[in-house]
């Protein structure tokens, strides 16, 4: 009995380790885009990822066939939502010109390829709102990248946002 338990524990640890090895890179990329930090200096994103993965570890036996990657990503999104209350300002990064909510929608929809419906359910928003947020975020990112608009402060971005349809 005890031996079987040990075998199970070992298998669990091995499964989780291979999950982390496969998923951590992609999730950390997503987290760093969310927190709008430079890739080589991303303490917030690391903390976010550690917390989300620890939660996944604790719930590993209760996933009941749910994809652990989906679960971990969901935890990441929840935690980012809670933390973005306090930390509104990005520190640069590719999406630094967006608001936390715009970043979250853009990363889930475009980087992670989550369907509009699931994104809306995850964030508790109507689908229309998700579509609008995503469209606005994409416009801002492309406008910022093309160099046609030199956006430096959040104020300027907000100004542009109001002009756009």
């Amino acid at each position: 009995m005890r031996e079987r338990q040990t075998v199970q524990l070992v298998r669990r640890a091995r499964d989780f380790e291979s999950f982390v090895a496969g998923a951590a890179g992609r999730l950390l990329h997503a987290a760093t885009l969310l927190t709008a930090e430079p890739p080589d200096d991303n303490p917030r994103a690391r903390r976010l990822l550690t917390a989300a993965l620890a939660r996944t570890y604790a719930s590993w036996d209760r996933l009941h066939g749910e994809d652990p990657y989906t679960y971990a990503r969901q935890q990441l999104a929840y935690r980012f939502l809670m933390m973005s209350w306090r930390l509104r300002e990005g520190r640069g990064g590719a999406l630094g010109m967006l608001s936390p909510q715009e970043r979250l929608v853009l990363v889930l929809r475009v980087h992670e390829g989550v369907a509009e419906e699931q994104t809306a359910a995850l964030l508790g928003l109507p689908m229309e709102r998700v579509r609008t947020l995503c469209f606005r975020a994409m416009s801002l990112v492309l406008a910022g990248k093309s160099g046609a608009l030199r956006l430096t402060s959040t104020e300027t971005v907000r100004g542009v946002e109001r002009v756009r349809p």
């Binding site: 640890a13 989780f16 380790e17 982390v20 951590a24 890179g25 950390l28 990329h29 760093t32 885009l33 890739p39 080589d40 991303n42 994103a45 690391r46 990822l49 550690t50 917390a51 993965l53 620890a54 939660r55 996944t56 570890y57 604790a58 990064g93 590719a94 853009l106 990363v107 929809r109 475009v110 980087h111 469209f135 994409m138 416009s139 990112v141 492309l142 990248k145």
Partner: protein, 82 residues
């Protein structure tokens, strides 16, 4: 139109340099995850003990005060046949 835009943004996000995963990440995650599991177990155990103690207290109270015995009737049945 929107799809083209989406592809463009996706390409852009994919070309941002991916951050390196810190070496200590796995150990940190397991440490925190184990702590969460332990906390959950403690909470569950406390809840069980609370339930058991509550049940015992209830049984003792029942044994001592007999709250479910109906009070003696205060109405005397009519006297007949004497």
């Amino acid at each position: 139109m929107s799809d083209r835009k989406e592809n463009e943004v996706r390409r852009l996000l994919d070309t941002t340099p991916a951050p390196a995963v810190p070496a200590e990440l796995y150990d940190d995650v397991v440490r925190r995850g184990s702590r969460l599991l332990r906390q959950r177990m403690v909470v569950r155990r406390l809840m069980w003990w609370g339930a058991v103690l509550g049940f015992l207290a209830f049984m003792v109270w029942v044994a001592v005060t007999d709250p479910f015995v109906p009070p003696p009737s205060e109405v005397t049945p009519p006297l007949q046949g004497w």
